[in-house]
């Protein structure tokens, strides 16, 4: 784990409300599903983002503009710098056989890095409307199934529509809470190993504040920054 001021290489819009931020940083070894904290100007708490891609000391983050912190991020010009803490969290447990990935909206972010380590992957990606897709070219070689809620591209529907037909292999998933809740139900009723990357507000990222509690199905809480952000869907309640 490092806490360093990193230089911005690139920060540009890649889809509706979605930006690609590239910074220069030596993170050592990183796993898909791990995250970093960014410290936007004027914010008192850091903001967590999945490691989108990481190669040759270039870290890519894909972020959706939703509030104060992400709005502030859009202002970063190349050569500007920003503090970063990471890598943090456990990341996905990546099987060597075939993998199913289910992503909703910006939940695609952690899977660009997966592309670098896994080839035999079925990707199901759903968004509201086609303007929200980006970086599809990076997944060339994977078996790709796209959904839009409005039918503007690919199949009409939600990424979770695939659950009836999907293979029995491990599922890795990230997306909005409604989607994750469907996956949790699915995993429990079918007793399937589904790895979900979840979100929770965070204070510190390093186990200090106890702010990032995630309800444990067996009672009590996990902590996203220590035990996550990836959990076995059967073990949590969102």
């Amino acid at each position: 784990m490092q806490y360093v001021k990193v230089k911005v290489i690139k920060n540009s819009k890649v889809a509706a409300q979605i930006f690609e931020l590239q910074v220069e940083v030596d993170l050592g070894h990183v796993k898909p599903g791990q995250f970093v904290l960014l410290y936007p100007k004027g914010c008192l708490l850091p903001r967590p983002f999945s490691i989108g891609d990481y190669v040759d000391n270039v870290l890519t983050i894909f972020y959706k503009v939703v509030g104060k912190g992400t709005r502030e991020l859009t202002k970063l010009q190349p050569t500007a710098s920003i503090y970063l803490l990471g890598p943090l969290g456990n990341g996905f447990d990546i099987p060597t056989h075939h993998i199913n990935v289910i992503a909703g909206g910006i939940g695609i972010a952690p899977f660009f890095l997966l592309k670098r380590v896994a080839d035999d992957v079925t990707l199901v990606w759903g968004v509201k409307t086609k303007d929200e897709f980006f970086g599809l070219e990076r997944f060339k070689g994977w078996d790709i199934h796209l959904y839009t809620e409005d039918g503007s591209h690919g199949m009409q529907g939600m990424a979770t529509d695939c659950l009836n037909t999907i293979s029995k292999d491990t599922i890795l998933a990230c997306g909005p809470i409604e989607m994750l809740n469907q996956l949790i139900d699915f995993a429990i009723s079918n007793n399937r190993y589904v790895q979900v990357l979840v979100e929770q507000r965070m204070g510190c990222g390093i186990g200090a504040c106890r702010g990032c509690a995630i309800r444990r199905r067996a009672g009590g809480y996990f902590h996203l920054c220590e035990d996550g952000p990836v959990f076995d869907a059967r073990t949590i309640v969102l």
Binding site: Y3, L44, L45, G203, C204, C209, R210, C212, G220
Partner: protein, 282 residues
């Protein structure tokens, strides 16, 4: 270096910068040596383990941090067995924050901790996020005085009472002074925030405690006020995020200063404040 040393409660602190309860973890030591700090105050420990409050537990307000952790902690047994040995490696000065929902719990905690090497106790009677034994205890002066008397008997170590701005400082500080070694002011201030989209509170526990820049002027006031009411050393806490803040607390009479939520904003803050103080000396 020498000149940053502070003597308080019979303890020598290498400098006045402490990290506040609940706002740092041993992992900070990966970023800088925590041994360079004046000392460390642990997350509040209770007799039994506590799960803490339902999430969401933290929220950034316009100029502060709102939290409702609810004293999540592993309980005294696990603290002594697993946590403390690691903490002792980090800094020679470990102040253990303790809280109880009954007076007996305070006594148990002190009895359990007396034989350890911890430096002092910070008695947290000001947590805004628990229903029993938190901030309400500080308002119940009869019970509080009783606890203080008994702790004085029981304790082999300095007793530092951590108070809230909603406490009657005028009354409590003189009352506790005969049985105390010092005071920490202030804990986070009772507060809340609303999500207008859902019309629901931003915290799972509805209300929480406000910390950070918003409360600094309130904390300075509390220290100034307490200073006039006691000869005991005072630890200032609330909104410290830069060197000037430390100097302001010292100006109003604080012997030591705790840095809390600023650790979230900039994990190197402890180190930088110590370095800043050293430069300031020259």
């Amino acid at each position: 270096m020498k000149r940053l040393e502070v003597q308080a409660f019979g303890v020598t602190f290498r400098n006045p910068i402490l990290l506040a309860s609940g706002t740092w973890s041993p992992r900070l030591n990966e970023l800088y040596p925590l041994s360079m700090l004046g000392g460390l105050v642990t997350k509040t420990i209770t007799v039994e383990p506590r799960e803490g409050n339902p999430p969401p537990r933290i929220w950034e307000t316009e100029h502060g941090v709102l939290n409702s952790i609810g004293l999540e902690n592993p309980g005294i047994d696990r603290f002594i067995d697993k946590v403390l040995p690691e903490l002792e490696q980090l800094n020679p000065i470990i102040i253990v924050s303790i809280a109880g929902s009954k007076p007996e719990e305070f006594y148990t905690l002190v009895e359990r901790l007396n034989p350890t090497n911890v430096t002092a106790y910070e008695i947290n009677v000001s947590c805004p996020n628990v229903t029993r034994g938190g901030i309400e205890l500080g308002k119940d002066t009869t019970s509080l005085l009783d606890i203080a008397r008994n702790l004085r008997e029981l304790s082999h170590k300095p007793l530092i009472y951590k108070l809230s701005i909603v406490h009657d400082i005028d009354q409590i500080v003189p009352l506790l002074t005969p049985y105390a070694d010092g005071f920490t002011l202030i804990n986070s201030v009772p507060a809340m925030a609303i999500d207008l989209q859902t019309r629901r509170p931003q915290l799972g526990n509805v209300t929480g405690g406000l910390s950070g820049p918003s409360i600094k002027p309130i904390a300075l006031y509390a220290v100034h006020k307490a200073k006039k009411l006691t000869h005991l050393p005072i630890i200032g806490c609330g909104g410290v995020s830069k060197l000037e803040d430390v100097l302001e607390f010292i100006t109003v009479g604080a012997s030591l200063v705790q840095v809390g939520s600023a650790n979230f904003n900039h994990p190197l803050i402890g180190k930088e404040l110590v370095e800043g103080l050293m430069e300031n000396l020259i």
